[in-house]
């Protein structure tokens, strides 16, 4: 039986006050809060078995290496990845994207085409623009409609034999739209293109089956999934793992070094130069355990109820517009009130202890599409409650009264 009261007990931060009010944390799409179990995991590592991994023969190093590799296996199992060496630890989603973009800079030729969706985060636009500048490849955009849903017929129209790469986020951070990635992957691969899915926004809500999706690359960050910041995962299909060159040189990624030539280590170490975020990786594994203990089906059911409640309640406010109204959404509501700047609303609700995000959410193309400076974004997690949504609605009403 799902008990939000019991779940909230796991998150120490939810007990604090902000500006004299109990914290209401509705900025989960930016980062999630951390359960005690994850915090304890980091403390335990530094208190009891901190050592560098994959190198030492001493006991501590063995223990740390084991724990890190167990975390890799947890990630492998969670995402249903065939081989554990296809799981590459990164510093987060942005790192994973840059690693892949860098690899393709040696593969793409002038005139090759790269497709990105119109609802990408800047981190999934800029690396590809840089890649196009380096290689002479051409960046094309899969458009979206007013509801914030990708237009698949347009996607098919711009896909061609020239398309070498397709990059789409699983879930839009600004709108909450869940993209039909299975269809997108299949259509791209039919034309011989590789696909990278940015899962930064999806993995706290959805448990993707990467073998079933048969995707080439999938990236995500631990910190949106109750794990620590500064660590993430890049799934790279074994085929690409052998083709792409290493991203950074350093320790760990080598097999043999002489001053004439270095041979690179096998996967995944080829892409993991330097000492990684060891405690972060181990705690990422704990976070995955934590989420699976609650269960993604339960989480989804609960969050969908929150989303529909929040949508209905917010729409009762006069002159309020929600952006991202497609049928498949995660628990994100991005909105504006006519004549009020989102920054003003964010400032007032913060004074009432409520954390929301305001601004362009690193998605300026989406804001340009809707001709708005930004939005107020409330993003809900499985530990939020209907009472918190009521508080948000009443705070927004108060802000509206003060600001008009």
């Amino acid at each position: 039986m799902y008990s939000v009261e019991k779940i909230r007990e796991d998150f120490p931060i939810l007990k604090r006050k902000v500006n004299g009010y109990p914290l209401i944390y509705l900025d989960n799409a930016a980062t999630s809060q951390k359960p005690q179990l994850v915090i304890d995991c980091i403390v335990d590592y530094y208190s009891n078995y901190n050592a560098n991994i994959h190198r030492g023969v001493h006991t501590l190093s063995q223990e740390a290496t084991d724990a890190y590799e167990i975390a890799r296996k947890k990630i492998q199992k969670h995402f249903n990845i065939k081989n554990s060496h296809e799981v590459i630890f990164t510093s987060g989603t942005t790192h994973g994207i840059n690693l892949v973009a860098n690899g393709f800079s040696e593969i793409l030729l002038k005139g090759d085409e790269i497709l990105v969706s119109a609802m990408e985060h800047h981190s999934n636009i800029v690396p590809w623009q840089m890649l196009c500048e380096r290689t002479g490849a051409i960046l094309k955009v899969i458009p979206m409609n007013q509801e914030g849903v990708l237009v698949l017929s347009e996607y098919e129209a711009i896909l061609s034999e020239k398309t070498k790469l397709v990059f789409v986020n699983h879930v839009s951070n600004a709108l909450g739209t869940i993209n039909p990635i299975s269809e997108i992957i299949k259509k791209a691969q039919d034309k011989g293109a590789a696909v990278l899915i940015d899962g930064a926004q999806s993995c706290s809500h959805i448990k993707p089956d990467l073998q079933k999706l048969n995707v080439d690359f999938y990236v995500t960050s631990a910190h949106k999934m109750c794990g620590p910041t500064g660590v993430g995962m890049l799934y790279m299909n074994e085929k690409w793992g052998n083709i792409l060159p290493p991203y950074q040189g350093g320790g760990e990624m080598i097999k043999e070094v002489t001053f004439k030539k270095t041979t690179y280590a096998d996967l995944p170490h080829k892409f993991e130069a330097g000492t990684p975020n060891i405690s972060g990786g181990i705690a990422f594994g704990s976070a995955i355990d934590y989420l699976n203990n609650i269960g993604f089906a339960e989480i989804e059911k609960y969050e969908m109820a929150l989303l529909s409640y929040a949508t209905n309640e917010l729409l009762k406010i006069d002159d309020l517009t929600i952006y991202g109204t497609g049928p498949d959404k995660t628990s994100v509501v991005s909105f504006n009130i006519d004549g009020i700047h989102p920054y003003d609303i964010g400032t007032i609700v913060d004074k009432l202890g409520i954390a929301v995000r305001t601004g362009h959410h690193c998605t300026q193309p989406i804001m340009a599409f809707y001709k708005i400076p930004g939005t107020v974004r409330a993003s809900f997690a499985f530990y939020n409650t209907k009472e918190e949504i009521d508080a948000l609605v009443s705070a927004v009403k108060k802000a509206q009264m003060m600001l008009t």
């Binding site: 700047h341 920054y343 003003d344 400032t347 004074k351 400076p373």
Partner: protein, 141 residues
């Protein structure tokens, strides 16, 4: 009126309020009463970087005093600008340059002074002082 005297007035005015909401309501009113600057002055080069909302700041030298006018698309930001303009506009460049900004803390708006806050108050003050510095140099020549 000297800068310090205006700051004292502001501290007095804000001390009448018991809570943040009254302070913000007053600030919003100040923002609403800020004269709107001419659309032709809302140019890219008058935009202050580092703000989540747009802020345009215009400076002119009238006699030996700097006159500031400004606007923003966010009303709370406009209120902050109104306060800054009341303090710093129609003042001599050298007075603007030496003025401190402790009054912002004293009127209970300290949170807006954080450089990580995206409202750009810090950038605004920096820009006001940069204009003052430029006009001071101009007056000396």
């Amino acid at each position: 009126m000297k800068i310090e005297a205006i700051q004292e007035d502001l501290i007095d005015e804000f001390s009448m309020f018991d809570d943040w909401m009254q302070r913000y309501e007053y600030m919003i009113d100040l923002g609403k009463s800020l004269p709107i600057i001419d659309e032709s002055l809302k140019t890219e080069d008058r935009l202050i970087k580092g703000c989540q909302s747009k802020v345009w700041l215009n400076a002119e030298l009238k006699g030996n005093q700097v006159v500031f006018t400004a606007d923003s698309d966010a009303i709370i930001t406009k209120g902050i600008i109104a306060i800054l303009i009341r303090v710093f506009s129609n003042q001599k460049p050298e007075d603007i340059l030496v003025a401190n900004t402790n009054f912002i803390d004293e009127i209970g708006l300290k949170e807006h002074l954080s450089p990580t806050r995206a409202n750009g108050l810090v950038s605004m003050i920096k820009q006001l002082k940069l204009y003052a510095m430029a006009y001071q140099a101009q007056l000396k020549n």
